[in-house]
Amino acid sequence: MSKIDPSEITPEHVYLNRRQLIAGMGALAAASLLGACASEPASEVPTPSAAASAATQAAPGPTAQAEQLQEKLTPLDDVAGYNNFYEFTLSKTRVAELAEDFKTSPWEVQVGGLVNNPQTFSLEDIMAFEQEERIYRMRCVEAWSMVIPWRGFRLSELLEIVQPTSQARYVRFETLADRSQMPGLKTPVLDWPYVEGLRMDEAMHDLTILATGLYGKDLPPQNGAPVRLVVPWKYGFKSIKSIVKIDLVAEMPVSSWMEAGPNEYGFYANVNPDVPHPRWSQATERVIGTGERRQTELFNGYYEVAPLYEGMDLEENF
């Protein structure tokens, strides 16, 4: 197989010393925060917490990485043909056929919990959010990655509508669990329905989106139609699919994978080449569709999220 080109292993923006870069990012974030405050009128919706609103405004627009990733897009056939969606099957190559007739309309997402304005969003409501394209690298905990052009909107926009109360510290998500449509639910590998969670500042971060499409079209069922989370700096399993319920909660939610393997999967699940999975290395990743490998980057290369974890031991909080 082809040799790994050094420029592929270390994208230009990482040639800088990591620490320097992270410090630089922090300064940039602070500067852009000031900029955002000066140029934008105050939001009419009360923001959930100071920390959360700071996170929202810290990184304006998609990252500079998007431009570099544009040339590395994973072919649609691979994006839609190699999926982990255990509600259908454990086989990554069989999800597409088994999910073919998955009914995504009508669809409702109930948003509640510690909010002032609980609301049920229909698929039409979801699609009414202004949709934009975000090109992200998705890094699976199984040590492979894809570059996917998502279509979606910031999760923070939806959360601002329901107005989290001051007690809300985490967001808990749930996937549909419909036995009549999802044959994989018969296999008790995980405790269904699938549950994931984010800390409030992670949920409000500009990079965190709810995706409704990819490659300019609605999401194929196997990719989590009709609406899924995408958190690009965390392992893929955090980006929960086919969401039917979002709750704002006070306590850290226990995700399905945390419950299945507490020693192997933590709440944060941030991409980190220096913290191996107990049974396999996370130092490199197979780039689907290329036959190549690349060195895995901390936070999957989204270094701008580093301030969210300042002072935290990432080995402890894996």
């Binding site: 197989m1 790994i4 043909g81 190699y82 590998v189 995980l190 994978w257 290395s281 490199t284 197979r286």
Partner: protein, 200 residues
Amino acid sequence: MSRKLLRRLQIATHVGALTPLAALTWLFWQDRLGPVPVVAVTRLLGRYALALLLLSLVPTVVRTVTGVSKVARLRRPLGLYAFLYATLHVLAFAGLDYGFDLGLIVTTIRESRREIVGLGALLILGLLALTSIPALMRALGKTWRPLHRLVYVAAGLVVLHYLWNYKELRRWPVLAGVALALLLAARLPPVARILGQRRR
């Protein structure tokens, strides 16, 4: 056991062991192994290696039950084919997946229990394959038999390697483990005695 039957079983072993390799080569050549051929090739080679390794433990049990000793001659080709598939499996891992980048491979193995147990199994199988050369068999004399009982250790490591490959508990590695446990149990002297008695 007639000489004819033994020959038929030997031919079946060669055909059965080589056909999947031919099919896999063809499918890889034709790019018909799905979106990530490297994974499919590595995984299938590994599965055949384990299947052949477990099969190589069957003749001994058949000999115990039936008293036909000639059947034990099938162990050698089955074991050697298992080693062949295991070697190809590792070559696919190192070559197709890691481009023979030694630094990367070493980092990966060092951090990965899954790869360490696999490597352990390969080393044992290599040793057993080497000591299957007639001249070495003779040279080893009485130590050959206890040495070759290491095949159970190798099979155990392979099962663990297979089990650890997945995030969750999967059916096939568990079934392989059960099969290995039964094959090993059949060799324990008290069990073997009971199995042997039934032929009288």
